[in-house]
């Protein structure tokens, strides 16, 4: 039986795995299920899981073994998994197919590779899927407490425009989710009042919404716009929901940056994330680099995996100086 208080692998993942694989994963020891961050299925390769500390190949009973003794994932396993993931509705997922990943209820992202189909110089779709990567998303209530005080202007009673920077798998979205929840709820002990916060969740990863309803805890003062492209979503929310704070995940496209500028000029505080190693590496990236150079953001949170996922390397101000 699962220990109370332990965050095991969320059960909804099992319903999106083919039966055989789900059986193997459910045979894992509890401590492994607590640590699981990725499940990888590759055609004709052994089933692999990745935990916070290392990776394992699994045999038919869910035991960690050498790669030669691992359960070989078949083409049929992959095809079945992909059909289940798309809810037997590949035709309804064409936009996601171009992105290279699908988000399932609970905000878990499943990436895939296969054969790219190019039409008129553009990626039309990906077929013959040969690899799936289930990335398990977990809520970690309380992690925002490490940084929240540095993101708040007590005198002006507002949240600084903040950009969370890290490479993939360092906990950007998890931190953003908890910041949203914390800012929405407020922290009376620190004198922080709850704020109206609007979230554009293009890939349903922040709120883990199912049929538009948030499945993760994102706070009582949070308005969620699910499955909407970020650039449109930000403009819609500013006009319609009068937020004090606007949160978006993984900005990058030029249109996202343009929408962010509009939001910043509208006097709304911004919480955003971006892929990157550090502040300097982003300064030369088109779009986001301009925002950094023009000091649109007043706080940068740098994350890494140095001391485990979600390690806060530093909270910097607009000059790039550490905030004490």
């Amino acid at each position: 039986m699962d220990k109370p208080g332990v965050i095991l692998m969320p059960v909804e993942i099992f319903t999106f795995l083919p039966e055989k694989i789900a059986d193997i994963i459910s045979g894992l020891d509890n401590w492994l299920r607590e640590e699981l961050i990725e499940i990888r299925l590759r055609v004709n390769q052994p089933l692999q899981i990745i935990t916070f500390t290392r990776d394992y190949f699994l045999n038919k009973t869910g035991q960690g073994v050498d790669s030669e003794a691992g359960y070989l994932v078949s083409k049929q396993d992959l095809e079945k998994a992909f059909l289940i993931l798309t809810r037997n509705s590949l035709y309804a997922m064409e936009r996601q197919l171009i992105e290279g990943y699908i988000t399932i209820p609970g905000g878990h992202r499943v990436g895939f590779t296969g054969q790219a189909v190019i039409e008129e110089g553009r990626l039309k779709t990906i077929t013959n899927i040969n690899s799936l990567n289930y990335r398990i998303s977990r809520e970690k209530p309380g992690i925002a407490m490490r940084v929240i005080d540095k993101l708040y202007d007590h005198q002006g009673n507002y949240i600084y425009n903040t950009l969370i920077i890290s490479p993939p798998l360092c906990g950007k979205t998890t931190l953003l989710r908890d910041l949203i929840r914390t800012i929405s709820q407020g922290i009376p002990l620190l004198g922080l009042k709850g704020k109206k916060i609007a979230v554009v969740d293009e890939r349903s990863e922040i709120a883990g919404a199912y049929n538009g309803i948030a499945q993760n805890r994102i706070g009582n003062r949070t308005d969620l716009l699910d499955n909407c492209p970020k650039a449109w979503g930000m403009l819609i929310l500013i006009r319609s929901m009068s937020p004090e704070v606007l949160a978006v995940d993984e900005i990058g496209h030029q249109e996202d940056v343009t929408a962010l500028k509009d939001a910043l000029n509208a006097g709304v505080s911004i919480l955003a994330t971006v892929h990157g190693r550090d502040l300097n590496s982003l300064k030369y990236r088109p779009g986001i680099g301009d925002l950094i150079k023009n000091k649109f953001f007043q706080r940068y949170i740098i994350l890494s995996r140095n001391m485990g996922i979600g390690t806060v390397e530093g909270v910097l101000d607009s000059q790039g100086e550490e905030v004490v």
């Binding site: 319903t15 795995l17 059909l83 289940i84 809810r87 509705s89 590949l90 035709y91 309804a92």
Partner: protein, 173 residues
């Protein structure tokens, strides 16, 4: 004499009813093949314009059909929405088998539906639509043949029911 008349009438009514019941199967088959075309048309519109996920599109389709066929679609939709790890094709095939005696379709008609189920959900929007249109054409053809068969056989079977009853009456009396 009264008993003889009542007996003769009973034989006549029973024989005619048996003929009527057998013949009605041909007419219901024509009706069901027509309904299936309508169903796949509605399904096609639903996924093309709404890009609705399969279970919802099937539920919507089920709502437009009569009891017998509606059950086939609604039950499939229900099972799919449970996310029990089965693909649409697996659920659909099992449901076709289970509903085999709940409708008037023949083996060759069910074959069309089974082949449709093998391709649904795993194709792009345009390919999905092509499969739907092809299936509608096949059902149209099956309906045409079924109608021709019904025209030939319905009257024949009904008359046969009456005539066989009369023959039995003459033989007995």
């Amino acid at each position: 004499l009264t008993i003889k008349i009542i007996g003769a009438l009973l034989i006549l009514i029973s024989g005619s009813s048996i003929g009527w019941i057998i013949s009605i199967r041909y007419l219901y088959r024509v009706e069901e093949l027509g309904e299936l075309q309508l169903a796949i048309n509605i399904f096609d519109t639903e996924i093309n314009y709404g890009q609705t996920v399969l279970s919802d599109a099937l539920s919507f389709t089920a709502a437009t059909l009569n009891g017998r066929l509606s059950h086939l679609f609604s039950e499939t939709a229900e099972l799919l929405s449970h996310h029990d790890g089965r693909t649409f094709n697996e659920v659909w095939r099992a449901n076709l088998d289970e509903n085999l005696y709940n409708n008037y379709l023949l083996k060759q008609d069910l074959q069309i539906l089974e082949e449709w189920g093998q391709q649904i959900g795993s194709l792009s929007l345009s390919d999905q639509s092509k499969i739907n249109q092809l299936t509608i054409k096949r059902l149209e053809y099956a309906e045409k043949k079924a109608r021709e068969m019904a025209e030939k056989r319905v009257k024949l079977i009904r008359y046969s029911g009456v005539l066989i009853s009369l023959m039995i009456i003459i033989l007995f009396y």
